[in-house]
Amino acid sequence: MLVHLRRSLVMAVFCLIFFGFIYAFAGTGVSQLFFKSQADGSITANGSTLIGQNWTSPKFFHGRPDDFGPYAANPKNNVAGGDNPLVANGVSGESAATNLGPRSKVLLANTKKLVKYWHSMGVNPTPDLVTTSGSGYDPDISPQDAYVQIPMVSKATGLSPKLLRALIKSHSRSAQWGFLGSSYIDVLQLNEALAKLS
């Protein structure tokens, strides 16, 4: 028993140092050396391309409704708009999906509210645009989600639908290697390109 205990202590300390700190520090060193931009969070001038933001102006394409409509950030928590990864569904200290079940009354009511919101913006919404993501800050939409927003953006910016369609097309990325996952558009990069046009 005492032999087990002594060996366990030695092993636990070794694992803490080797599989904890040496592993993590070596990994961080290699990452920072060779992939600094990714390792730091793909940060660009206007935010991380991997973290969704809350686009409310009709002059921009909107992302998924992770933090607006019924899921809007709660002003009581002093959250200044936008998808804050440390704040979800208006609750500080959480970053999460809604976790509403497929037969949830709340989900039904929230979806109806979002449909109404999109109709008021002149948009016929796709499923992605009325449902929230798994992370709570999905940075992407599908090309179809962008195409349906053309009437809204065209009206607000005065850019022709044809130009917007071409913009969306040039920013659409197909599934990785042609078959892994789905095709998508990074909303931040799309809107940065849009801002340059208008």
Binding site: M11, G82, P85
Partner: protein, 562 residues
């Protein structure tokens, strides 16, 4: 079409892994791999042990239990005092006692159930020193226990079954470390974050949004999280976040990592017992059940979400609620089934928002006892329990003393196997019964109606099976759920491991009976079918009543919302 190619690519890649990782692991546990000998030998010196110093099953189990207890205490203490430790750029305070106990039990049992959001609770010191460490240690312990049972079949008249310290050291150094490090690099190259620099605040001039973005040493935790079928991520929403799982490729590689060791161990088994055909038989059991569940769940997730459809939006891209655009519906379902059926529990979507039948697929995937293919090591040893039961039933049918790989399966072995198979269902059902009967338990669910019951059932099934995935709506960070969950996890891990080690010890002591014409074949389709039957009947009989109150009622209540 993309999904079809995803499946084909997965099958090809896993086929190679099964063959070559499987034989490599056999060489590792046989002591023929030495390329990190300069690191391996000093460890044995410090422990005053050596590969020649073999243990009986009782000493092996003793070492395993004491080491797990010490790991539990280490993890608990680090979480409690993290406020006074370095590497804490967000200045997190110490974690509360009930949550620390739950989390320590969770990571020491390879469950990785998380009643906390990592980015708002854990310092970098805790993520690295308490949690990532256990993500290396616990899969190694699981694989070591599986290897003991396999030695039970491959050895003859042997009082000893190996050396615990040597087995886990070899597993961590030669199997887990190189693969995890390599995939860590790939994950970071794809966009996973790996820094010690703390959060970053940034303002978007276009829309006036200011964000505070949590960061940390995420990418390298991600690779060992999936490889070791651990499942506990750095961030609250786990593999759904871009910082853990940035692209379609990393999603695919996550699925690949989850499945690689559990499947490959069947080859290791075949090689160690001297009959790869027997390994193929076990692999067939795993693959057939896994394939059916993938097909079923992917189909279910390709349907409309009932609530979204009722709001007037009809989808051609499946159920999008709680899913990420870059993965899509079917790949998300494949990830979900891979994660629940390997006792991993990582999530690239909100499982709570899966369609009723999609959720059914995930929940029942765990209820089959985590053998299809199950966790690292735990999948193989639990499947061997079912195989022993199948052999016993086959023996009863033809009226002969049952044998498996030449070892007579007698009263003691069948009792131990029966115990191992029943511990999990008993714990899960009793704890679920308690949780739905008292106020502290009923306060947990977010959703109403049958889905609320499913949330409770899912939580205790997940913890009892050392899975760790969740129907995330359940508020689990309460004293009641923290403590009942911790007990559930400890029983689900050690309540099975100890009978399994005893089984390995009992088998190793036996001699081999020569094969005769009347021997029940255990390497053909008949045996595969019988084992699948045993798994489905045990799982079905124990859990059908509970399942019918949850997802089945939910699926059948057309047009009703709760």
């Amino acid at each position: 079409m993309g999904f079809f190619f995803t499946i084909v690519a997965l099958i090809v890649l896993l086929g190679f892994t099964w063959r070559y990782l499987g034989s490599y692991m056999e060489a590792v546990f046989d002591g023929r791999v030495h390329w990190l000998g300069w690191l391996e030998r000093p460890i044995y010196r410090a422990l005053h042990t050596s590969p020649e110093q073999e243990q009986t099953w009782k000493r092996y189990a003793g070492a395993m239990i004491v080491f797990s207890a010490v790991s539990l205490v280490f993890t608990y203490v680090i979480l409690r005092i993290q406020g006074s430790l370095p590497l804490n750029p967000q200045h997190m305070g110490g974690v509360g006692s009930a949550l620390s106990f739950n989390t320590a039990s969770s990571f020491v049992t390879n469950t990785n159930w998380q009643n906390y959001g990592g980015e708002t609770t854990m310092s970098y010191f805790s993520q690295i020193g308490a949690l990532t460490v256990q993500q290396f240690v616990t899969p190694a312990v699981g694989i070591a226990v599986a290897i003991v049972v396999v030695r039970g079949f491959s050895r003859r008249n042997s009082p000893t079954i190996g050396n615990f310290w040597v087995d886990i050291t070899r597993c961590m150094l030669y199997v887990l470390l190189p693969i995890a490090f390599l995939f860590g690099i790939i994950f970071v190259a794809q966009g996973a974050v790996e820094t010690l620099a703390g959060t970053v605040s940034i303002r978007d001039a276009l829309n006036g949004v200011t964000q505070t973005i949590p960061r940390g040493p995420i990418g390298f935790m991600e690779s060992i999280k999936q490889l070791g079928t651990n499942g506990g991520g750095f961030l609250d929403t786990n593999s759904a976040t871009t910082f853990e799982n940035p692209t379609g490729l990393t999603n695919f590689l996550s699925i690949y990592l989850l499945l690689s060791i559990p499947f490959a161990l069947t080859y290791t088994f075949g090689k160690m017992v001297g009959s790869v055909r027997h390994g193929v038989a076990l692999l067939s059991v795993m693959v057939l059940l896994f394939g059916v569940w993938v097909g079923f769940t992917s189909y279910a997730e390709h349907q409309n979400n009932p609530a979204v459809a009722a709001a007037g939006i009809h989808s051609t891209v499946g159920n999008t609620e709680g899913k990420e655009v870059r993965f899509g519906d079917t790949s998300t379902a494949l990830f979900g089934v891979s994660s629940t059926m390997t006792s991993t529990g990582s999530a690239d979507a909100s499982y709570d928002s899966f369609t009723p039948m999609g959720g059914f697929g995930l929940l029942t995937g765990m209820m089959l006892g985590e053998v299809t293919p199950g966790g690292t090591g735990s999948g193989l040893y639990t499947l061997l329990i079912y195989a022993v039961i199948a052999v016993f039933i086959g023996g009863l049918m033809i009226g002969r003393t049952p044998e498996y790989l030449g070892k007579k399966i007698q009263a003691r072995e069948v009792k131990l196997a029966g115990l191992g198979a029943l511990v999990m269902p008993i714990a899960v059902l009793i704890f679920t019964g308690i949780a739905v009967s008292i106020a502290a338990g009923k306060a947990g669910p977010l959703n109403g109606g049958p889905h609320g019951f499913s949330e409770i059932l899912y939580a205790l099934t997940s913890q009892g099976n050392n899975n760790g995935s969740a129907f995330g709506g359940l508020t689990g960070n309460t004293p009641f759920y923290n403590i009942i969950g911790a007990i559930d996890m400890l029983i689900g891990r050690f309540g099975i491991m100890i009978p399994v080690l005893a089984l390995g010890g009992a088998l190793a002591e036996k001699n081999v009976v020569p094969e005769s014409l009347g021997t029940f074949r255990t390497d053909n389709g008949m045996f595969v079918g019988l084992t699948i039957g045993v798994i489905l009947i045990i799982g079905g009989l124990t859990f059908f009543p509970a399942i019918s109150l949850g997802p089945i009622v939910e699926q059948l209540s057309h047009g009703r919302f709760f």
